[in-house]
Amino acid sequence: MSVVSLNAGPKRGWKSVSTWIGAVIVGIAMFCALAAPWIVPYDPFAQDLGKRLVVPFWMEGGSTEHLLGTDQLGRDYLSRLIWGCRISMLIGVTVTVVSGLIGIAIGVLGGFIGGRVDDAVLFAITTRLSIPVVLVALAVVGLLGSSMTLLVLTLGLLLWDRFAVVARSTTMQVRNLDFVAAAWCAGCSRFRILTREVLPNIASHLVVVATLEVALAILLEAALSFLGLGVPPPLPSWGLMIAEAKDYMFFSPWVIVIPGVALFVLVLGINLLGDGLRDLFGARTDT
């Protein structure tokens, strides 16, 4: 197996700082996601109607009892935020696994075989790009009823385009390199060349795409949940928290600011990490 770097570029100092910021944010989010059941201060589903819309600790009337306050049903906001992180990360990662499997298979096939197969792959990508993602995802969930599994499958089936584009173009580049020709001459099978020569060499590019796709999937999940056709309540998805708090936002803006900032910071962190990895690997993600 030989690994080559396509378009390796120099890494700049400030880039590595932003990469570290991204890595720290993603690290914290991973920890929250995995340890959520043990670190939440309260049960995120337990309602306490006597303590509705308690303000966060830094505002007047707030206390350290509920650090981020409570929502309109008296549920602890910090606990729901941590639990929501678990849901965001779970959906982001599983959607990316589904879309990655589809996109990489399609892209590598088109790039490796070429000819008619590649024409078909290009056509599939063009068709996929013409389909309005949010609308179709909403329609599927609306018609079949909302559940996590359905949401993940729907988004996974819709978001494979960037994986396919990058897998296809990088496979084409690697296919024509000398060591692949050498492997052909040595009598390696197609399968062996694909798995031992091509895939290891395009893997770094795919990892970068994967990070960006996790971020995109998290944003889309939040938007769908916000519209009421994503994660079913009472699960505390950040998008759903914003939707449920919307009626109170003019009087207590913090109810939508907190989950929104969490969402923004998480997606920013993943993108910073992805950008850093791209520079590190010298990978290309442009479509």
Binding site: F123, P132, V134, L138, L144, A223
Partner: protein, 305 residues
């Protein structure tokens, strides 16, 4: 040029046909449509009546070819909920979505062209990094949340702009800004990359050697070449924006095509849903074709053999 055009047209037609098939399958996913239209309290007789009235008792393939045949003549069927022709409904709502999309695109271009040029001219300086940071921030911004935050600040606290509805041009400013956010990162990066590439090319060196002013070199020679891909991507972005405006139309209660689709999904009004999917896809295909054509006209190398 003609063969390029024909090839592009054939692909566009095939894509539209595929989307049409997918949209049809999509609305049949829920299994028995008559049951879901009739609602939970319907009797078997009601369901049978609905099935017959809407032609759902026919074989699926007959229904499909009937829909395709009618759609080709511009007849997108009848809405169950609105009791009106789907084509009329979409035509009524389209101006709102188009106004929103174009407002968003103009705002995005006005922001990202200068930012991209600035970043390219000052490549690898603090300014360049700031612009790239802005692009990253824009990419991470959840659009529906930005919409709500703008409503609180610009709408309620400062009182500058109306919060929702479609009464005047001011109503489109906030949704336009929110929609523009989704296109600004890509457009800025592309302008920056295009300008950097153009500034390093031979014809710019020639222009410099001739002693042209800096402004003339930047705006007349470099920008003109860097703008080709930007204009093309702007057309494609508009297509994405029209498809993505469903969330923003819902936030700001703009009664456009996205809002129509959103209402129809809730009401199981599948002729409207499948028609909106088809119309948005066709608009996207048309816009990408337009982008390809513009590219081919401006850059003959792209026309291919």
């Amino acid at each position: 040029m003609l063969s390029f055009l024909t090839r592009r047209l054939i692909v566009a037609f095939l894509v539209a046909a595929t989307v049409m098939t997918l949209a049809f399958i999509l609305t049949r996913l829920s299994g028995d449509l008559a049951t879901s239209i009739a609602g939970p309290n319907a009797t078997q007789a009601d369901i049978d009546a609905i099935r017959k009235a809407y032609g759902l008792d026919r074989p699926v393939l007959t229904q499909f070819f009937d829909w395709v045949g009618r759609a080709l003549t511009g007849d997108l069927g009848e809405s169950y909920f609105f009791k009106a022709r789907v084509s009329t409904l979409i035509a009524e709502r389209m101006p709102v979505t188009l106004t929103l999309g174009l407002t968003g695109l103009v705002i995005a271009l006005v922001v990202s062209l200068p930012l991209g040029i600035l970043a390219a001219v000052r490549e690898n300086t603090a300014l360049d990094r700031c612009v790239q940071l802005v692009a990253l921030l824009g990419q991470a911004m959840p659009s529906f949340w930005l919409g709500l935050i703008l409503m609180i600040f610009l709408g309620l606290q400062l009182g500058w702009l109306p919060i929702s509805g479609t009464g005047s041009w001011q109503h489109y400013v906030m949704p336009g800004i929110v929609l523009a956010f989704s296109a600004i990162p890509a457009l800025t990066r592309l302008t920056r990359a295009g300008m950097i590439q153009a500034m390093g090319s031979d014809y710019i060196r020639t222009a410099r050697a001739k002693g042209l002013s800096r402004a003339s070199i930047l705006l007349k020679h470099a920008l003109r070449n860097a703008a080709i891909p930007v204009v093309a991507i702007a057309a494609v972005q508009l297509g994405f924006m029209l498809g993505g405006s469903i969330v923003i139309e819902q936030v700001f209660a703009l009664h456009g095509v996205g809002y129509l689709a959103w209402e129809s999904i809730g009401k199981n009004d599948f002729p409207v849903v499948q028609a909106v999917v088809l119309v948005l896809a066709v608009i996207y295909v048309a816009l990408t074709m337009l982008a390809d054509l513009m590219n081919a006209v401006l850059d003959p190398r792209l026309r291919g053999p």
